[in-house]
Each structure stands twice: as structure tokens, then as C-alpha cells.
């Protein structure tokens, strides 16, 4: 075994020196570098996003429980090295100046917040300052609204249960606030040591015990894994990104895109590897025959070439991992100024994954070519025309397709996307093949009308139909993939920019009472604030599905959907909201006014397993109302506009206690207008999401860069296919050129005919690529990315033009050598 290994290594070094392996190794390196760097980059962005989202929870993980958190959980977290903070959240009435106010209270310990900072100010409308501790014992910090509602000022005392606490600061921002988006009561922060003195928490009180954890990702994962099976039905562990639908939705698409781009670059590299390996195999038929003559058994031959493959795989994959790591690091340096926070480091998984991907790609795509070497007859040394047995195409393509599916699925974790891309590529290849036949047929028709170099060029294409068709397909396919990746990237980025324009709403205002609507609208108009409209909102809970109590419908009560455990915001509207899309059923007409029908968001419908025609019953303010699902909508959660799971027609729930919600954009310079708004309308709650918006924008910019950067890899991989395709037909072309020169063709004529041949080849490949692009883009846009599709007319001009230029550049590099050589020399070495 060792002797064969050493021989394989020596032969490999000799092949490398002879220039046989460069394209193969480069293609492998690109595949691995693409997988590795994409993996590293997405992992770092994901981790960064989790960290940033953690800032909004005040911790990486938050355990919500109606009972005190078990000490064993605390002990385990401590042993895992996690930071821990305990707080209690409950609603209670506070009293000041004989006024009563229901308040959302959070009592925190000395470790709160583990992440991010609390923002307070010393005056009601004063400047805020960040602090990383909670109120001292005996003190409370109150939301601005409470000051207005209870006519309080700093230093006053409030009564909470059996104790009095001093108002020490205005609470401007509490990191935990974002997770309690549905909390409408104004917020109060107190010290956990004072809770017992208040005596407001009695057996049976509705209390949520919150335990926050923060620490290293590995420790968090370990803790989450340990805790998950121990959670009771009433406990919930909230992770970093939960609840941040806007971020998730954007990241989902970006993640899909990155997976797709990475998959395609691996696929392209695979094609390049297959083509170069095939050529490598063919060029080694003589060597294999000679080695058989010299006594090497079939087993020896296969062992030597497999070992070569193995060595090549190790070197290529290691270099690829290194290249992937370095480019990703380089990108981070370039992005330093762009990133809002420093991204956390990545783990080793992407490196391992890149390494394995290298091996799978190399084996899947080059093994068939190398296996043929085994069957080379030794008689080939006497008769050069004896080709080795061909291997079953089922085996060759089967192996390549299987390794591709495994790789793509593994890389993306998305079977649907994998199969869709694979099916798309297969359909495209078939379609491109048929189109190429058509183009060659047309060429035959126009040939008689041509003369000079164009005739010679086209004749070359028609005569070497098989090899030219292969090249056309390879060129066409790689160009098609490049175009698709470019198109989707452009559309995604535009979409994100459209979605988050400079003046996207960055504040929500809730709790606007019916009689305040006009005054609030007037306030906005006076201060030049454009709102996204005021939407009515009624709080209600789903209690029955198709007349069955939800507790009876759910097999496991502990696994009830979150939406069934809490009150939902219900709304009504005549028209469907601009950012909603009707998926099934019909939107209501004027005749439906007052009818008990609803439109439901598709995610909720899926989770509740309900469809058009099903009935949902709601409990709204102690009354029950039943309604039939008339339509299912998709909702663009990342639009930063008020969105609703359930919408009624007008005059169904209008009579219930309602409030209004709106969102609006406020310039940072106008931030003080908020104080005025709250002063004028003390019962309003303003949610400042400008920080979240900034986070989303920062993620978008990171992801956009990642998207552009992954495109580069696809481009490199595509170029490799072009080079490999060019190389694959090069021997034949060299021979033809040499014979023509020997027969008296002048250099200029040869140049012109080659220019004509490659221009035509490029044109054909370009037409094939654009046709394929339009079809695949249509499928991807409509089935995966949910983007609007329209024909890309400019592509029909630029695509073929680009194809011609690329092919002329690459072919020029190769053919120049032939043309410059003397015919005698060329004949000798051809």
C-alpha cells in the first residue's frame, strides 16, 4: 500500500509539473473555498444577529415560567459558565396622589441586564443615559407615561401593595421591552429585594418568573440541549431571534440566496472538475496502458489513480479551506467600518464542511473518469485507437447527481430548494441540448450562403458537432448560472432597499383611543409626521376551532401554539393592506360587511391546521364570536407597518372595546416631538423601534455584502468551467489548426476563422444561457423567493455579448500559442 502511495504521489508531482492538474486543483479549491467562506460568513452573521437580538432581550436566552425557576436549572447554567439574572414580571396597581394605575412591573436583581443597557433619564423629558444596572432597593424607575398618568415627578413616592417606593428615574428603554410587544400597560422597574415587602404576590397570583442566561455559544447550546426536555408545558425558553420577525424574514431570504449561490458555485466547480478529470483521464489512457504493459494489475492501476485523487483531494480541500478562511477574514477587514458591531468568531464546522464538500465533489465528479483507466487495454500500446470500455452513463451521471444532491442538501439544509435547483438544472440541460441541436441545424442551413473565415469557423462547429455541443452546453450552463445569481442578487437587494427605504416607519404608537383618533391625526399633521394610517385593534383570544374547544383539539396541551395562549390583535378593514398578499379564497366585497368572516395569516393557518371554510371562535371582552375563514393572506412582517394575524370585514367587531395602532417615521432630530405627543396624549404608548430598524439595516448591509461576495465565487467557478470546456476541445482544435497551417492557411486567415468559430460558439452559448436563465428565474422567483417575475429584455443583448467576449478572451489565450508556432514544431508536439 505504502509503495503505491509513494508512486502515486510521485506521479502526481510529475503530472503537476506537466501542468495537467492545475485547472482540476483550482476548480476544487474554488468549490471548497466557496463552501467554507460562505459557511464561515453566514455563521458569523447568524451569531452576530443572535448576539444583537440578545441585546433586545437583555440576555441570550430567557426562561419564562409561572413558577420559580428550579434550582437545578440555575446550578446547571452556573456549571456551564453562563451568566444568570432573575427577575419577576407581573401586573399590579400602583397608587400615587390618590390615583390608581394598572402597571406592568418588572422586579430585577443586581445582575440585570446581562446584555445591552437600560436607558434612563433624570427628568421626564430630559436626555437619556445608559446604565447597566437596575434600580436600587427602595427605588423604582417609571415609564414616561406613568409620570403623566399619576402626575408624578422624580423623588415622589408611589405605593405598591404594602410598601412605598421612591421614584428615582424615568425609564426610557428596558432591554426586555421588545420581547413584550403586546404589553400595553405602562412599565415600571423595581428591585427584586422589594417584592416581598409589597406582599402583592400571593399564591395564585399571575406572575412570570424570568431567568436570563448569557454566555458563550457552546455553553448556551449545551444548556439549551439539557434544558429542552426538562421544560414543563407552561415554561418557555426564548432564544435570541425569537419574535424578531422582521429580521428573520430578511435573513431567511438572504440565507436561501446564500445557500443557492454556494450550491451553484459547488455545482459549477463540480462540472469543471468533471470536465478536467475527464480530460485528465483521457490523457492518461496511454500511461495506464503502458503501466499495464509493465505488469501493473487493474487493482494497482485503480489504487494508484485513487490515491492520486485522495492526495489531490486533501491538498485541494486544505488549500480551499485556507483560501476560504483568508478571504472571509479579508472581507471582515474590508467591512470593518460597515458593521455596526464586531461579529463574533466562527466555529470550525464550516471548515470541516468545506473539507468534506471538497472530497465529495472530487470523488463524485472525477471518479468515473478515473475508473475508466482501470479498463484500459494494454493492447493500446500497439493500437492507439483502442479506447477503454465506457462506464455506464447511469453510473457516471448517477454518481454525480447523487453527490450533488447530498452536497447541496447538506449545505443548504433545504431539500425543497435543492431539488428545485437540481430539477431546474436538469430541465435546463435538456432544454439547452435541444436548443443546441436546433442552432446547429440552422447553421447547416445558412452554411452555403457563407464564405471565407466565417464559413470555415461555422464548418468547424458543424463538423465537430459532438464536442462543440458539449462545450456549448458547458458554456451555456455556467453563464446561465452566473446570470441567475446576478439577477436574483440585484432583485433581492432592490427589494430590501424598497422594503426599508430611508423613511421606513421607525415608531409604533398603540393604545390610541377612539375619541383620540382625530386629535392624534391632527398632532401628526401639525408636526409634519407622515403615518402609515391608523388601524383599529380589538384584543381577542381564539377559543374554538370548528366548534371544538382548543384544549380538546390539541392532542398535547403543553404544545398549544403560542397564538392560542395569548390574546391576539384583531382588526378590520375594507381593503387588503398593501403589504399583504391574498393567497387563497376571496377578499370581501361590500356585501360582506357585518358578516362573520375573517382573513387569516398563512403561517397561523398552517400552525392551526385550518383552511378556507373552517370556523374560528374568539373570546373578546367576555363575549364569544364565531367567524368563518374566507381568505388566507401572506403578510410582509418585515415591512415595519402594523400587521395582523386576523382581519374582519367592517361592522363585525366594531362594537367591542377597541384602540388604534399606527406606525410612523420620525427623524432623529425630531425625537423630542415624542415627549410632546405623550404629554398631549398620556394614555398612548410609543414603541421606539428605530434601534431595531438600525439593527435590521445593519444586517441587511452585511448580508448584501455577503451576497455580492458569494457571487464572486460563482463567477470564479463559472470561469473554471469555461476554461475546462475550452481545454476539453483544445487537442482537437490544435490538430485542426496545425493541419490547416501545414496546408497553407495564413496566420491571418486562421485568426479570422477562429475568431468566427469562437464568436459563433459564444453567441450560441449566450442564447442558450439567456433562454435557460429566464425559465429558471421564473421558477425561483415564483416558487422560492416570492418575487415578481418579468422578462429581462436587456439580458438578451448583454448575455450573448458577454458570452462572446468571454469565450474570445479564453480561446485567444489558448489559440495564440498554436498560431504562433511553426507548423513543423506544432505537428511534432500536437
Amino acid at each position: 500500500m505504502t509503495k503505491h502511495f509513494l508512486l502515486a504521489a510521485r506521479l502526481l508531482v510529475r503530472d503537476w509539473r506537466a501542468g495537467e492538474l492545475k485547472v482540476l486543483l483550482l476548480a476544487l479549491l474554488i468549490a471548497v473555498a466557496s463552501v467554507t467562506s460562505t459557511g464561515l460568513f453566514t455563521q458569523r452573521i447568524n451569531r452576530g444577529m443572535n448576539d444583537q437580538a440578545g441585546q433586545f432581550l437583555g440576555a441570550d436566552l430567557l426562561l419564562k415560567s409561572p413558577q420559580l425557576t428550579d434550582q437545578s436549572v440555575i446550578n446547571y447554567a452556573q456549571r456551564a459558565g453562563l451568566g444568570i439574572t432573575k427577575s419577576i414580571s407581573f401586573s399590579s396597581v400602583i397608587v400615587a396622589h390618590d390615583e390608581f394605575q394598572l402597571t406592568h412591573i418588572k422586579a430585577v436583581d443586581q445582575h440585570y441586564p446581562l446584555l445591552s443597557q437600560i436607558k434612563i433619564s433624570a427628568q421626564l423629558y430630559g436626555d437619556e443615559r445608559p446604565v447597566n444596572y437596575g434600580p436600587a432597593a427602595g427605588e423604582v424607575w417609571l415609564a414616561p407615561r406613568l409620570f403623566s398618568l399619576l402626575n408624578l415627578k422624580i423623588g415622589d413616592k408611589i405605593e405598591l401593595g404594602e410598601t412605598e417606593l421612591q421614584v428615582a428615574a424615568v425609564l426610557k428603554h428596558d432591554p426586555g421591552q421588545a420581547s413584550s410587544f403586546v404589553t400595553i400597560a405602562p412599565h415600571l422597574l423595581m428591585n427584586i429585594q422589594d417584592v416581598a415587602k409589597t406582599a402583592v404576590i400571593q399564591p395564585g397570583s399571575r406572575v412570570t418568573y424570568l431567568t436570563g442566561f448569557a454566555g458563550e455559544l457552546k455553553a448556551r447550546k449545551q444548556f439549551e440541549k439539557w434544558l429542552a426536555p426538562r421544560l414543563s408545558g407552561s415554561q418557555r425558553l426564548v432564544g435570541g431571534t425569537e419574535g424578531s420577525q422582521a429580521v428573520n424574514s430578511a435573513m431567511d431570504k438572504a440565507g436561501q440566496y446564500l445557500s443557492l449561490a454556494s450550491m451553484l458555485s459547488v455545482m459549477l466547480s463540480g462540472i469543471a472538475i468533471a470536465m478536467t478529470a475527464n480530460r485528465y483521464g483521457q490523457r492518461h489512457f496511454d500511461q495506464a496502458a503502458l503501466m499495464r504493459c509493465m505488469g501493473a494489475s487493474q487493482k494497482t492501476i485503480i489504487r494508484i489513480f485513487s490515491m492520486q485523487l485522495f492526495i489531490l483531494g486533501v491538498i485541494g480541500s486544505l488549500l480551499g479551506c485556507l483560501a476560504g478562511y483568508l478571504t472571509q477574514q479579508g472581507l471582515m477587514i474590508l467591512l470593518k467600518d460597515l458593521l455596526v458591531t464586531e461579529l463574533p468568531g466562527a466555529g470550525v464546522y464550516p471548515l470541516i464542511s468545506g473539507f468534506v464538500a471538497g472530497f465529495v465533489t472530487l470523488s463524485g465528479f472525477s471518479l468515473p473518469a478515473l475508473l475508466r483507466l482501470k479498463s484500459v487495454s494494454p493492447l493500446r500500446v500497439l493500437r492507439n485507437d483502442i479506447a477503454p470500455l465506457t462506464i455506464s452513463s447511469w453510473f457516471v451521471y448517477g454518481l454525480a447527481v447523487c453527490s450533488m444532491v447530498v452536497l447541496m442538501w447538506w449545505q443548504s439544509g433545504q431539500l425543497k430548494l435543492t431539488l428545485l435547483v437540481l430539477a431546474g438544472v436538469m430541465v435546463s440541460v435538456t432544454m439547452l441540448f435541444i436548443l443546441s441541436l436546433l442552432l446547429i441545424y440552422l447553421s447547416r442551413l445558412i452554411l452555403p450562403g457563407l464564405s471565407g473565415p466565417w464559413k470555415t469557423g461555422l464548418l468547424q462547429i458543424v463538423r465537430n458537432q459532438k464536442s462543440n455541443q458539449l462545450q456549448m452546453l458547458a458554456f451555456g450552463l455556467s453563464l446561465m448560472i452566473l446570470m441567475i445569481i446576478f439577477l436574483i442578487r440585484t432583485d433581492l437587494i432592490h427589494r430590501w432597499q424598497d422594503q426599508l427605504p430611508d423613511k421606513a416607519p421607525n415608531h409604533f404608537v398603540i393604545n390610541i383611543q377612539n375619541d383620540e383618533v382625530k386629535a392624534v391625526q391632527q398632532f401628526f399633521a401639525e408636526h409634519g409626521i407622515a403615518t402609515e394610517g391608523l388601524y383599529p385593534m380589538v384584543r381577542g383570544r381564539i377559543v374554538k376551532i370548528n366548534n371544538k374547544d382548543i384544549l380538546d383539539v390539541a392532542e398535547d396541551k403543553t404544545k398549544l401554539d403560542e397564538s392560542l395562549k395569548r390574546e391576539l390583535n384583531l382588526s378590520w378593514s375594507k381593503q387588503i393592506q398593501a403589504n399583504n398578499k391574498l393567497l387563497e379564497g376571496q377578499w370581501w366585497s361590500a356585501a360582506d360587511d357585518g358578516k362573520a368572516v375573517i382573513s387569516i395569516e398563512k403561517g397561523l393557518a398552517r400552525r392551526l391546521q385550518v383552511d378556507i371554510g373552517d370556523d374560528l371562535a374568539f373570546r373578546i371582552a367576555d363575549q364569544h364570536i364565531s367567524a368563518t375563514i374566507k381568505s388566507i393572506r401572506s403578510v410582509q412582517w418585515d415591512s415595519f407597518q402594523p400587521n395582523f394575524y386576523i382581519i374582519f370585514p367592517e361592522n363585525v367587531i366594531n362594537e367591542f372595546p377597541l384602540s388604534y395602532i399606527s406606525s410612523f417615521y420620525l427623524e432623529p432630530a425630531k425625537k423630542k416631538t415624542l415627549n410632546q405627543l405623550i404629554k398631549n396624549f398620556p394614555t398612548l404608548t410609543v414603541l421606539e423601534i428605530d434601534v431595531i430598524m438600525q439593527q435590521v439595516k445593519s444586517i441587511m448591509s452585511q448580508v448584501t455584502t455577503a451576497v455580492e461576495y458569494v457571487m464572486l465565487f460563482v463567477l470564479f467557478a463559472g470561469m473554471m468551467v469555461l476554461v475546462a470546456a475550452m481545454q476539453s476541445g483544445m487537442d482537437e482544435r490544435m490538430n485542426a489548426a496545425v493541419v490547416m497551417r501545414t496546408l497553407g492557411a495564413k496566420k491571418a486567415f486562421l485568426r479570422r476563422s477562429q475568431f468566427a468559430e469562437f464568436s459563433l460558439l459564444g453567441l450560441f452559448a449566450g442564447v442558450l444561457a439567456v433562454s435557460g436563465t429566464e425559465i429558471i428565474a421564473y421558477l425561483l422567483y415564483s416558487k422560492v423567493f416570492e418575487l415578481y417575475f418579468e422578462l429581462h429584455l436587456s439580458l438578451w443583448i448583454y448575455g450573448p455579448l458577454l458570452s462572446v467576449c468571454l469565450i474570445l478572451i479564453i480561446s485567444g489565450f489558448y489559440m495564440n500559442k498554436v498560431i504562433k508556432q511553426s507548423p513543423v514544431k506544432a505537428l511534432r508536439y500536437a
Binding site: L7, G295, L382
Partner: protein
Amino acid sequence: MVISVNNLTKQVPALDSSSGTMLDILKGVNLEIKPAETIAIVGASGSGKSTLLGLLAGLDQASSGEVILAGQSLNKMDEDGRAALRGEKVGFVFQSFQLLAGLTALENVMLPLELQSKSSARDDAVALLTRVGLAERLQHYPKQLSGGEQQRVAIARAFVTAPTILFADEPTGNLDKVTSKNIIDLLFEMNREKKTTLVIVTHDENLAQKCERCLLLENGVLNND
């Protein structure tokens, strides 16, 4: 005997035949070759010379008849068995040299020894290349060598494993007259030095005349010239 051939035939499907018609390339060839003997097989193009060589060297399988090479019947061996026998007992020189373009002269000569895992591969190859007059050309690639030099490398490679039998297929077919003479001389010198049996397929009368025996292959039948 180093080689014994009994009633050897080779048939191949006729090119234009769709009904399974077979073409007879060799029709009952009988031949015996003694150790260290030099034999030339001559005949017109297409007479089956190279086919016979392929069968004698165990590169191909006969339709019927038997070939005994170095005491072992090739008929009873599978391809890997024949390969092992070739590695041990047989050397080849070809008309088109069959040097590997990516390997230097030295590496080409080392290859058969490396396949046998000989630790002295390098030294043996250097010695042989020096013997054929290419001591100064060890690191040259085939394309940097003339035709005659390439064939010298091929001869060095053929002798480096000290084979019992050397098969040469038109060894001067691609060379000019002067170079051919030098190559023929070298081949016979080596044959004498190493006591190797030499079986040459050739058109070259000069080369054929230098052999102890000359056999004519005509229409698949082997006759003494």
C-alpha cells in the same frame, strides 16, 4: 523454449459485417523461440504482425491455440496474471516510443522499476540511460529529445527491468536511416549484453537481416523467410 506457440488463431468481427462474419487475422500459427534468440517477424501492412506480437506478449487473447511464455501458458491466466508475467519477464520497444510526455527521460525509465517498488530504481535508470548514451539528458522531457534519443530512452526503459524477452514493434519505423542504424546497433548490443530474447516486428530489411531468424507473416500464416 522461451516462447512456444501452438496453432494460434485470431479472429475479429468483419467491419462491414452485421451478420456476425469473422475475419481471420492469424490462421494456426506455430512457433518456438529459444532463449537469447533474435527473431524478426516481417510481412506486409495488415498481415497481422502486430496482432501476433500482442498475442505473444500476452497483451491480447487468442481466439484459439496456445501461447507458452517463459514456461507459463497465457491461456490459463487472467489479464492481471498476464500483467504480472509481463512485469517480470517482458520488455517492450514501440514504433511511437510510448514515452510519457509529462515525465523526464529518467522518470520514464524509472517507471517500470517503481511499479515493482525497486528501491534502486533511480540508480538503475541512470545506469541504463548512461549506457544508451543519454547521461547528459536525464532531466529532459520527451519533447526536448530527438526521435532517436526518444527511442534510446525507450530501449533503456525496456532493458531496465532485465527482461527475459524483449518485444519490439517497428522500433525504427519513425526514424531516419542513420538513426535507425544506431538504434539497431544499440538494440543488438544490449541483447548480447543482457542475453535477452529479442522478437522484432519490422518492415526494415536491415533490421530483419541482423536477426538469427526471419519469419514471414502472409495472410495470417507464418512461414520461414
